[in-house]
């Protein structure tokens, strides 16, 4: 099932005693996680359990909120992203993010794909190849190859979300964070995007927050269950859904709260 090329001991994300506060409210408590490279890991838990907060602290998008304070460390590819010497722009390049609502920029499909690339590279020569490669990777090339100059905002939500994934790829990230990437999509769109995410595993480490238990079960290899800012359980997805180790996990999976 897993086509992860690395041995299981390679961790793309490694956190140590991660605590996070929004003002005086503590949102994360001593989060210690090892997220395996090249795998799809899903984060589940009831609303407000801290799963989005955790996701958003990996690429440091949280710190835009002046009142978020963090302690501990998050290592991405063995480097603590909160190290003062780390350049934020490099973190953002390495860790791409996909949002709940597809947010293509109101420019052409082609310009969307090239947006990140043009920020970080001055060479213009291979732009056509970059666009094709990225769109092929998200299974969108055949659909849009004849209208690359059209506005991206005119695509269907499913296509928009795929485009939002595609435009991360030219920047060559190693980690993709997805914050409920399918919740704005209809069932068919959800299926298509899940399929795409599944295709991308191995090449990218994917961390996906979801409210949809079935999605976590279908589309992830490892699963993390969080509750009230704490990690309750982290195991292989199949294992968690069949034989959860903790009572809270079992209760949540069976829909007794959340």
């Amino acid at each position: 099932m897993s086509k992860s090329p690395q041995s299981a001991v390679d961790f793309a994300i490694h956190t140590r005693a991660l605590n996070l506060w929004y003002g005086s409210f503590q949102a994360l408590f001593d989060v210690n996680l090892d997220i395996k490279q090249g795998m799809i890991t899903s984060l589940i838990g009831p609303s407000g359990c801290g799963k989005s907060t955790f996701l958003r602290s990996v690429n440091r998008i949280n710190e835009r909120l002046g009142y978020a304070r963090i302690e501990g460390a998050i290592e991405v590819m063995k480097r603590n992203v909160y190290d003062p010497e780390v350049e934020l722009i490099q973190v953002r390049k390495q860790v791409g993010m996909v949002f709940q609502r597809p947010n293509p920029l109101p420019i052409s499909i082609r310009d969307n794909i090239l947006f990140g690339h043009r920020l970080h590279s001055k060479s213009k020569g291979d732009e056509d190849d970059i666009v094709e490669e990225a769109l092929r990777k998200v299974l969108l090339w055949d659909k849009v190859k004849d209208r690359l100059k059209d506005k991206a905002t005119g695509l269907s939500l499913e296509e928009q979300q795929k485009l939002c994934i595609a435009r991360l790829l030219p920047v060559k990230p190693s980690v993709l964070l997805m914050d409920e990437p399918c919740s704005a999509l209809d069932p068919k769109g959800t299926e298509a995007v899940e399929e795409l995410i599944w295709e991308l595993r191995g090449e990218y480490t994917i961390l996906i927050v979801t409210h949809n238990m079935a999605q976590a079960r279908r589309a992830s290899e490892e699963c993390i269950f969080m509750l009230m800012g704490k990690v309750i359980e982290h195991s292989a997805t199949e294992e968690m859904f069949v034989t959860p180790a903790q009572a809270e996990t079992a209760d949540y999976i069976e829909g007794r709260y959340g």
Binding site: I61, N103, P106, L119
Partner: protein
């Protein structure tokens, strides 16, 4: 079943009454506008001609055209814009995109709102003190335009800031997450999407500036000048002041002349307002999110 009750009928009557009342008030509102416009067109229309627009006043301003005043107004507004737009847009970008939400930002915002409320005659006196005397620009186009610029700044800032903030936050997040700096985000995404709103605000400001009289009266506009200004350090005539002068200060002006001046002034303002509206509609049609 379904027949109206007495209560229904009473409610219907009340409803009709209020509808009429509000319609009447709306009509009352546009009546003065219509009266002003028709009066101006009827009384001022006959003096309008190409000559009127492009010749100088003659016979102690009781005859001739309005060219120096028209020319001067365009100068004053243009120089004022050159100052207020870059300054105002820059301030709006700072306030919308960079400023943290703290007491200093709040003080700045409060200051801008208060600046907008300062009466124009106070701006005029400030202009005299600051530009004419302190900076030594004398009574000149420069002093008058700077005064106008200060006066219009708050509106430029508020309009620009609002159009910047109307750009969806998701666009900014998308950029930041691809490793764009704040400035790259502003330049490539936020500004291009806000520019229609900013321009609309600017054009509306132009139309307001065109009609202002008090701020330029003491700072750069002249009663009558036999020549056109050669640089921003010269005085100039201006339409708004000219209207005031020919209506009240000069004896023996034929009745139609001030009406003609007023008509030109109001036509300029209406023209710019319509350009602004058309422009906004055009750009709205083009963008969609």
């Amino acid at each position: 079943m379904f027949e109206a009750t007495a209560l229904n009928r009473r409610n219907d009557r009340t409803q009709a009454l209020f509808r009429m009342l509000f319609l009447l008030m709306t009509l009352v509102l546009i009546v003065p506008v219509l009266i002003i416009l028709t009066t101006l067109i009827v009384k001022g229309g006959p003096v309008l001609s190409v000559d009127f627009l492009f010749t100088s006043p003659t016979d102690g301003m009781t005859a001739g055209g309005i060219f120096p005043a028209l020319f001067g107004t365009i100068w004053l507004v243009a120089v004022a814009l050159l100052v207020s737009v870059p300054l105002g847009v820059a301030a709006a970008i700072y306030l919308s995109e960079y400023a943290p939400d703290n007491w200093m930002t709040r003080v700045i915002n409060l200051a801008i709102i208060n600046l907008a409320g300062v009466p124009s005659i106070v701006h005029a006196l400030f202009g005299v003190g600051a530009f004419v005397i302190f900076f030594g620009f004398g009574t000149s186009i420069l002093s008058a335009s700077l005064t106008l610029a200060i006066m219009t700044l708050p509106v430029v800032i508020v309009a620009s800031r609002e159009s910047l903030q109307a750009v969806p936050h998701a666009f900014r997040e998308a950029c930041w997450n691809m490793g764009a700096t704040r400035w790259q985000t502003i330049r490539k995404v936020v500004l291009p999407n806000a520019v229609s709103g900013i321009l609309t605000g600017v054009i509306l400001e132009v139309s307001r500036t065109t009609g202002e009289t008090a701020p330029i009266m003491f700072t750069g506009a002249a009663f009558f000048l036999p020549f056109l200004p050669q640089s921003v350090f010269d005085q100039t005539m201006a339409l708004s002041l000219h209207l005031f002068v020919v209506s009240t200060q000069v004896p023996g002006v034929p009745e139609a002349l001030p009406y003609g001046v007023a008509l030109v002034l109001i036509a300029m303002v209406l023209l710019m307002n319509s350009v602004s509206i058309a422009f906004r509609m055009y750009l709205r049609g083009k963008k969609k999110w």
